[in-house]
């Protein structure tokens, strides 16, 4: 489970790539890929194994000028979905 204190990183099999055709980031993994919306890309670019989920929320709330609770809900839901798909991991 992903918690606010989790330090998160991309799974070994996943890699971010900027796609100049769509001007979006893609998350690539074996035989598949996700085209990311800008928010998703902002989150995943910060999944470096150093930052906690909490600090990612903090940064994005500031960057977007949005209320923190709303950003937190969105980021947590997204990261848990990605973790369930094996694309993001909490660092032990």
């Amino acid at each position: 489970m992903i918690s606010a204190e989790s330090r998160v990183r991309l799974a070994a099999k996943a890699r971010l790539r900027f796609d100049r055709k769509s001007s979006r980031y893609m998350l690539l993994y074996p035989e598949r890929g996700l085209v990311l919306n800008p928010t998703a890309a902002d989150v995943l670019q910060r999944c470096d194994g150093e930052r906690t989920v909490d600090s990612i929320v903090e940064e994005l709330a500031r960057q977007y000028g949005h209320e923190r609770p709303a950003v937190e809900r969105e980021v947590m839901t997204f990261l848990q979905t990605m973790a369930d798909r094996g694309l993001v991991q909490a660092v032990a």
Partner: protein
């Protein structure tokens, strides 16, 4: 917009050579006619042209890609182009030092096939003593920090072993397990009577895989690809003809799928003579079954036509003689009885008699085990 979408994946069939002789190999039966392999320079150019077209995924496959001595160079160029590169291999022949070089060159993922969970069965299906070596290669893959995909092609002889295959994948630390039921094309079609499972077998295996998927969620991805002989709906073959994929044959033909060059009457161009982008956009072969204008009924008015794209053109041809027919896997196909007959025959268990992959193409060998 030219109306032609971008391709996302280049399947580079670097060679049809392979030390294994798997009875369900997807290479064409006449693979011996395509022995004039592209050189390194041409492959490097093709990678650049593919990336320029929009390709982001590169599958290095074959045959056995390891028999090419320029893999390191191709991987390095793919990495420079920021392609996600997946090596699809039997693991033979490979030394740990060479695998470490692939890692340094930027290879993203390694997919190793095992034919079954015991050396005896696995080696019988592969026609080569290879199982123990494969396990060693899987261990190297993990030691060197690669993600590991374990792949097993499923059929009548190993479907009852799916629980053990899952356990093996867990023991090897696989990140992904691909349980792919045999597609009855290439060498698998003449071996269909020996390979096609029963519906009961398949249902049990699917349940085992589903349980493993739930239990291993977030830890190991468990994929189970159901054979279209039992779905009553056609598969979205290649996500649609000429829509997402380019397959490049060892001798340079750009194809919409692995077996498109086995279809009569279609012309496919070689990257030796044409830039990849020109072929993708303008080739008559790529255009033949693109979009919907080629579709017969019941496909043409079917609400699923944008989901399954009419199924597999090669299966349609190899079962009915007409590549433009509705895939017989579809319950709405007038030829669906061909599939139903094959299922009934699968229910009457017969002793397996395998046709092993070989250059001669016709040398049936009886199993003595």
């Amino acid at each position: 917009m030219s109306g032609v979408e971008r391709p996302y994946t280049l399947v580079a069939e670097l060679t049809y050579r392979c030390p294994l002789r798997c009875v369900y190999c997807s290479n064409p039966l006449d693979y011996g006619r395509h022995r004039d392999e592209l050189d390194t320079e041409t492959w490097l150019r093709v990678l650049r042209e593919a990336e320029d077209l929009g390709v982001v995924q590169l599958n290095l496959t074959g045959g056995e890609p390891l028999v090419r001595d320029d893999l390191e160079v191709l991987i390095a160029e793919a990495r420079r182009l920021d392609l996600y590169t997946n090596l699809i291999t039997s693991g033979i022949p490979l030394a740990r030092e060479r695998l470490a070089k692939f890692r340094a060159a930027g290879l993203d993922n390694v997919q190793v096939s095992v034919q079954d969970v015991s050396a005896k069965e696995s080696d019988r299906l592969a026609g080569l003593n290879s199982f123990e070596k494969k396990l060693e290669v899987c261990a190297w893959v993990k030691e060197l920090g690669f993600p590991l995909t374990l792949n097993t092609v499923l059929h009548r002889e190993n479907l009852d072993h799916v629980a053990d295959i899952v356990a093996l994948a867990e023991r090897l630390g696989a990140d992904r397990l691909e349980l792919a039921n045999t597609q009855y094309l290439g060498w698998a079609l003449p071996n269909r009577a020996a390979l096609l499972p029963t519906g009961e077998q398949l249902a049990r295996a699917r349940e085992v895989a589903a349980e493993a998927r739930r239990r291993l969620r977030g830890q190991m991805e468990v994929l189970f690809v159901t054979p279209d002989y039992y779905t009553d709906l056609p598969k979205a073959c290649m996500d649609g003809w000429g829509r997402r994929f380019i397959v490049l044959s060892p001798d340079g033909l750009a194809l919409p799928c692995h077996a498109a060059h086995t279809l009569p009457g279609l012309r496919f161009e070689s990257v030796r003579e044409h830039p990849l982008g020109d072929i993708w956009r303008d080739s008559a072969g790529f255009g033949a079954f693109r979009r919907e204008s080629w579709m017969p009924e019941p496909c043409r008015s079917c609400e699923r036509r944008g989901i399954d794209f009419g199924g597999c053109r090669c299966q349609a041809f190899h079962l009915t003689g007409n590549a433009a027919a509705t895939d017989p896997a579809c319950r709405l196909s007038p030829d669906h009885h061909l599939i139903e007959t094959a299922r009934r025959e699968a229910a009457d268990a017969k002793p397996a008699r395998f046709l092993y992959r070989s250059l001669r193409g016709v040398a049936a060998e009886r199993q003595s085990s």
